[in-house]
Amino acid sequence: MIDLEDELRAILTEDAMRAPAPADAPPDIRRRVRRRQARTMVGMFSTAAGAVVILATVLLVGRTLQGPADRVIPGGTLHNTEAASFSPGSPNWVVTIAEGNTSEGHWSFGISSSDGSTALGYSTTSMDANIVFGYDENSLPDLSGIRLLYPLNSPAPPATSEGWPVFGLVSTSTQSVELLAADGTTTPVALYDLPGSYAGQAKAFVIPGQAGTTPAGTLIALDGQGNELGRAQIPEPSA
């Protein structure tokens, strides 16, 4: 066995001596190496860029699929703003979403738009102050869950008072909104689709103000299967 292995080594060494022995790298080899290195670099950068894009997509999808909450999906920030062409009792709505009559008189709920500013408003003839709620983009916000809208210049929900309305926005997956009272009873709340040309992906609900009543309780947004999508507490009545 040893002899065979030694013979094999000798033969292979001897044969290898007959192989050509290049001294310097031919120019075409240098060029091919450079080209290949360049391709490798491009490939590495492309892979890195692709990984970043995939990561960003995964993060974005993850955020989109996040559970229901009062989170505004990117597209703008809801805030209070002046709406143009608005006068109490005779609002200049570009779209009237709902209207009716209560003991307070005629009320309407609509969208005003001027100079690129879109606002959702509520008006009643007996109120000397309007309530206007705006959005800093030319559409209402996409959202999940439920969001109460506040009167003009109020940074937070004001305390409710007799005759004031309660209204706000819910996601488009909401099929109904209920008002849960402290005693456990529930009352359906009117829910309206918003016009797509002015509004984003949202629906609006409204409880018109009425003399002798002060809205109280918790508003709950429900989907078609009765699953809760979000809830919001109506602020306590003012003293």
Partner: protein, 179 residues
Amino acid sequence: MVSIDVSSETRVGSERLEELYRSHVPGAVRLAYLLTGDADIAQDIAHDAFVRTTGRLRHLRHPDAFAAYLRRAVVNASTSHHRKRSVERSFVRREAGRREIESESLPDVGVRDELRRALGALPARQRTALVLRYYEDLSERQLADAMRCSVPAARSLLSRGLSTLRTTLEEANDDRSGG
């Protein structure tokens, strides 16, 4: 003011490339020659393997392992060469004829001639294993790494290759004794 001497950078890169070439390519050509039996093909294979290995910038990441990467690339290319072009049988025939003439000057003509012929007739993987083990002096683990197989598989290739060679030599010896 900071300036970058691009020509100097390029020169350093070129010198490094030349250095790698001079250090490793002749050995790669010899290995490819033993695996294929053709000087031109051996040179092509060695150059391709060199371009592939340096092009992947592996020599920058693991400079110490460059020889191993290059060897593996040569083995792969030689295996592909045999597989794709089906030249193994013609190689065996050509080598057998050529080496009968070349080996006339060798001292132990009979044994070496038979050994060469038997080596050339081995399946490519067995021959590769024997070349790596007895020419490159690789350990079984290094051999397995170069051939991208397990250590037991590498051991088996070696064992079967040696066994075939031994049988062939014994048969040739018997023929000579009988004849």
